[in-house]
Each structure stands twice: as C-alpha cells, then as structure tokens.
C-alpha cells in the first residue's frame, strides 16, 4: 500500500509539473504585455523597459519558469532593493494588478468557491441519487419515465439559462431569496446558506440531472448481477439487498464521477460565479483574464489541476482500500 501511495504521489507531481509547463508556455506566447498595462496611458519606452525588468518579464522563458518552480517550494524575492516583494512559500507568483501574492488571493477566494461547490454537491447528490435509484427500482414505470424525461431535459438546459430563470422567479418576482452574495460561514451560518442557496440550486440542478441518469443505469446494471439474484434467493429482505448489496457497488462509478466533478468545481465555477457576481476563484480567474493578470491565471489553472488530481487520488485510494488488486 505504501509503495502504491508513493507511486501515485510521484505521478501527481509529474502531472502538475506538466500542466504548469504547458500553461506557462502558452502564456509566454500571449501578445498582451502586462507591463504596458501596468505602466499606464502615457508610458515611455524607457519606463516600459524598467517596468518589464521589475516584473521579471525581460528574462528568457525557461529562466522565468525555473524561478517560478523554485518559488513554489522555496518562496522568492521579486525585484530588488529595500522594497523588494517577499513572496513566501508557496509562491505562485505575484499579482501586480492586485499588489498581492497569487497565493494570498487564491486563499482569500477559495472559501467562497468551496462553499459554493460543497453546498451544490450536497444538493445534487441527494437529489440526483434519490431520483436515479428510485427510477432504477421502478424501471420502465411511469415514475421512472417521468424522472428520466425530466432529467434529460434539465441536463440539456444551459446553466446560465437556469440561473437567470431562478433569479427571476425566486428573487425578482417573489422575493423568496436575497440577491446572491457571499457571507462567510464563520460570520453568520444562516446568512451564508441563504445567500448561497440560489447559486447552489442553479448549479445542483444541472448535476443532479446528470447524476440521476448515471446512478439509474449503474443501479440497473448492478441489480442484474448474479450475486444480487443470489442474495434475493437466500431470502434476504428486499431493503437489505437494495441498500447493502445493490447500492454499495452501484455507487462506485458515481463516486468516480463525483470526485472529478467536485475537484473541477472547487477551483471555481466560472459561469455560475460570473452570472451571480459571487467573488470566488472562478470570478477571480475571469477578472484576471480581462486584465491580463497572468500570474493569477496561471495560479488558478494550477489550483484547478491540483484539485482534479487530488480528487482522483482520493477516489483511487478509496478503491485501493476496498480492492487489493488495484494496488498492482
């Protein structure tokens, strides 16, 4: 198990390094010059050169990349002189637009995106799985067909359409919910939930529909397996068969999907955050693009990759714990 773990973690490091390199190269080719954006409206060429130097943009790309990598583990100092910028471990670069290390910005926004992702994930798991399992157990019936037609239709609605309709119905027309905002959980748990409810629902509806479809087919497949028949034949109560034998193994593929989806959402739901104006990582990313704030764009990309990879590892470890064959 230990050897397996080490192997997996090495793989993780390799993947992150590769993603980092690819992202870095792409942004090096970016025509927008962050230095001239920072320099202002009447920036002379000499001054531009100074600003470029200060931002480290006059270095060759491999050098910039090397500095960046070293900075992640050892921190680094940007610029020189008495007012050089200290960017401590883990230094993901420095956002000159925001006058803050990228890491600080990410950590500031992360709670928002995490709140959004986990709240929505909880909702869609409950909604999606219950709908999927119910439909599977009544395969072919009216309820099954209604649920599945509803699911396929909901999954076909773009999230921005659902979001706008929910906003209109729940906020503008009826005033049931407040305009989406973010209140830290630690400040006021009730306000936190109430303010995020709308984006949770908008995001969860789409995923719930997908999970209902996935869990239904997975459940149907499992229930057709010989061992379920055996369990039934042994005279176990239907409830035990469904919950203990059926559900448990039917949920494995759903779990895989869940890990990936949650991982991708943790680093920001770009569309949902931008529609509702929620200050999460996705919104930070989008604003950074508008302002050519490359360090932030790179930082968010890496964070997102990290979450996806981490979610994968967690899921794999879960499998490995259950099934020893996986470790080889």
């Amino acid at each position: 198990m230990i050897a397996y773990l080490v192997r997996r973690l090495l793989g993780v490091a390799g993947v992150l390094l590769a993603i980092c390199a690819v992202t870095f190269v792409i942004f090096y080719l970016l025509p927008a010059d962050p230095a001239s954006a920072a320099c202002g409206k009447t920036c002379s060429p000499e001054r531009l050169a100074e600003v470029r130097h200060f931002m480290g943009l006059d270095q060759p790309v491999w050098r910039q990349f090397g500095d960046y990598l070293v900075g992640i583990f050892a921190g680094r100092e940007l610029g020189s002189g008495p007012h050089a910028l200290q960017c401590g471990f883990p230094c993901l670069g420095y956002s000159y637009e925001n006058a803050l290390p990228v890491w600080d910005l990410l950590m500031d926004r992360l709670p928002v995106s995490v709140s959004l992702a986990f709240g929505a994930a909880g909702l869609w798991l409950v909604l999606g799985l219950s709908a999927g399992v119910t439909a599977a157990l009544r395969k072919g019936g009216l309820l099954d067909r209604t649920l599945m037609v509803g699911a396929v239709a909901t999954a076909s609605l773009p999230v921005y359409f659902t979001a706008v309709m929910l906003l209109y119905g729940l906020v503008r027309l009826t005033g049931l919910l407040p305009y989406p905002a973010y209140v830290p959980l630690t400040d006021d748990p009730v306000a936190w939930a109430v303010n995020l409810l709308l984006p949770w629902i908008a995001l969860a509806l789409l995923y719930a529909a997908m999970y209902a479809r996935q869990s239904r087919s997975s459940m149907i497949e499992t229930m057709a397996q010989p061992y379920i028949r055996t369990a039934r034949a042994k005279g176990l109560p239907a409830r035990t068969v469904v919950v203990k034998h059926g559900l448990r193994s039917a949920m494995m593929p759903v779990l895989t999907l869940f890990g990936m989806d949650l991982g991708a959402l943790l680093a920001g739901a770009v569309i949902t955050e931008s529609i509702f104006g929620i200050p999460g990582v996705g919104r930070l990313f989008y604003d950074a693009l508008q302002r050519s704030d490359q360090p932030v764009v790179l930082g968010v990309t890496l964070l997102a990759a990290f979450f996806i990879v981490a979610a994968n590892v967690v899921i794999d470890l879960l499998y490995a714990a259950v099934d020893p064959r996986v470790r080889n």
Partner: protein, 323 residues
C-alpha cells in the same frame, strides 16, 4: 492518474451487437438500428428535431433571405432609441417583418441571427466531435491493440489530458489567441480536451478484441496489423463509437455556447447561440423574447442529440462502454 473504470461499467464479454465482423452483418445492423430508432416515439422526435436543425444550419443564408433580413443588417425603425434601444411592439418586436423579433439596440433580425447561429454552433460542435472521435479512436485502438509501451505512453497522455481543468484552460487559450480564425481555433481547443474519453472506451474494446479467435485467425493468415485493424477491429467497435459520438455532440454544443457566453468564442458580427444568449441575459426582464429565442434553440439541439445518443447507445452498445 488512472481513473479506474470499475468492472461493472467496463466492456462486457459479449462483442458488440452484430457479432464477429463478417461483412454482411453490419448492413443488417444498420437496418435494425434504424428500425428501432424510428420505432420509438422519443427517439423519432429527437431524430427529426436534429435533422431539422442540421437542415436549418445548412440552409441558413437561404432562410434568412426568405425572412428578408441579413443577420448583420440594422433596422433603426424597429427599436426605440430613447429606451436604451428596446424593440418597438410586444414580444420583442415580433411582426410579419421580423418573425422572431429583433435584437435590442441594433434592430437586427433575430430569426436571421438565430439560423446563422445554428450554422456556427453546429459547425463547431460537429467539427470538434470529428476531431475527438478520430483522435480518440486512433489512440484507443493503438493503445488497446498494440499494448505494451504504446499503451503506457498513450494511457499516461490520456490521464494527463483528463487532469487538465479543461474549461478553465479552454477559456485561457481562447483569450490568449488573437489573430487566428476563431472557428478553427475553437474547434481545435474543444477537440484537444475531448479525446481521452472516447479513447478509453475504444481501448477497452480493442483490448478485448485483440485475442478473439477471428483476429488471431486473421493474424495467422498473415494479415498485417493495418489490415486487421481496419477489417476486423474497427468494424467491431463501430457500434460503441457511434453511440459515444452522438452522446459527445450535445456536450460540444454546450461547450461552444459556454465559451461564447463567456466572451471568448467567435468574433462578432458572427452570431452563435452562446454569444447571443450572453448578450441577451441582461435583457431577460425587459425583452424576454430576445433571451428565450436562442436559449430554446440551444436547448432543443442539446436535448435532441442527447436523446438520440441515449437511444443509439441502448441499441448499439447495450452492455456498457460508458465513459
């Protein structure tokens, strides 16, 4: 970075419907498929809707000429400049002249724009799907059939690609590139991140086919790998590939729309559904028709291809091969 496909969802032992690849059977397979598709009310409706949308996309210039407006022509008389350019009349300016109303501010004809939008949206979706299917199938077959080092390298590449935060990466790439054909770029960018899914399905199928008697037999007869791949392996995985392909299309349409929605898609004045919706979102209250028209088109397109894909999967690949 293996995301394990658990046994339940893996390829079943049964070969794809239609059995070992004798040349006569696929024809019969196609007939069965068609009969079953057409026999079901849901999939028949989806088929008709999808066909209609494709037809609309193909004949967009003709249709908009029929409507009397080009997608870029302004109509200053159709809007009220004083109210921020809101269309005159009810329902966003629906009239005999403008069948689906007009765009606020410019007065451009919504019907002309939405049918031209179909062209762009579907073109990108289909082209990206084609890229994904061709690369994915090729990589999957290579990995599954040859195995060994080829498999290792390709599988690692699949894992790596799947670890990319694809939407975030696509947005970043689209906003980086400036002086390129947006349609081509968008197709490629969407395609680049889509191939590992289908490659995995194909790889699993190819792995199981590799040691089938008829493949072994062909090999014993001295057939080269190319011949075996094209004559024996490919026909036998075509069922799942077709089903999977159809299921890819709605995702591609949505991705194109999402990118355009975020403002990194096609460049104006080219209309695409996502871009139209993005501009219309702000008007959902003051001019709901403007928002609803492109949304409905997008919804119908995604729904039709999803239903179609589901049906095809049930017919062609009943046992799994799910990503």
């Amino acid at each position: 970075m293996t995301t394990l496909i658990p046994p339940a969802a893996g390829p079943g032992d049964a070969p794809a419907a239609g059995g070992p690849g004798s040349p006569a059977l696929p024809d019969a397979l196609w007939r069965t498929t068609w009969r079953r598709l057409w026999g079901d009310r849901g999939s028949r409706t989806a088929l008709i809707a999808a066909a209609l949308l494709i037809l609309v996309a193909l004949t967009a210039p003709l249709l908009s000429r029929l409507g009397g407006w080009s997608p870029t022509a302004f109509d200053a008389d159709a809007i009220d400049p004083y109210l921020g350019g809101l269309p005159h009349g009810a329902l966003g300016g629906v009239s005999a002249e403008h069948w689906l109303g007009v765009e606020p501010v410019t007065g451009r004809d919504l019907f002309a724009r939405v049918v031209h939008g179909a062209q762009v949206s579907l073109l990108i979706a289909f082209a990206a799907t084609a890229i994904v299917v061709v690369t994915g199938t090729a990589a999957g077959i290579a990995a599954g059939y040859f195995g060994g080092r080829v498999d290792t390298v390709l599988s690692r590449l699949m894992d790596l690609t799947m670890s990319f935060p694809s939407l975030i990466f696509m947005i970043a790439m689209m906003s980086v590139a400036q002086d390129v054909n947006r349609v081509v770029l968008m197709t490629v960018v969407i395609g680049v991140f889509g191939w590992p899914g289908i490659a995995r399905v194909v790889r699993a199928e190819a792995l199981s086919l590799r040691h089938r008697e008829y493949v072994e037999a062909a090999r014993a007869c001295g057939s080269g790998p190319w011949r075996i791949l094209t004559r024996q392996v490919l026909p036998n995985i075509s069922g799942p590939v077709i089903a999977y392909t159809t299921l890819l299309i709605p995702g591609m349409i949505s991705t194109e729309a999402a990118l355009s929605f975020l403002g990194v898609g096609v460049r104006p004045p080219t209309p695409s559904w996502g871009q139209m919706i993005a501009e219309a979102v702000a008007y959902y209250e003051t001019d709901p028709m403007y928002f609803i028209v492109p949304s409905v088109f997008l919804f119908v397109a995604v729904l039709a291809f999803t239903v179609l894909g589901d049906a095809l999967r049930d017919i062609l690949d009943p046992q799994g091969g799910r990503p």
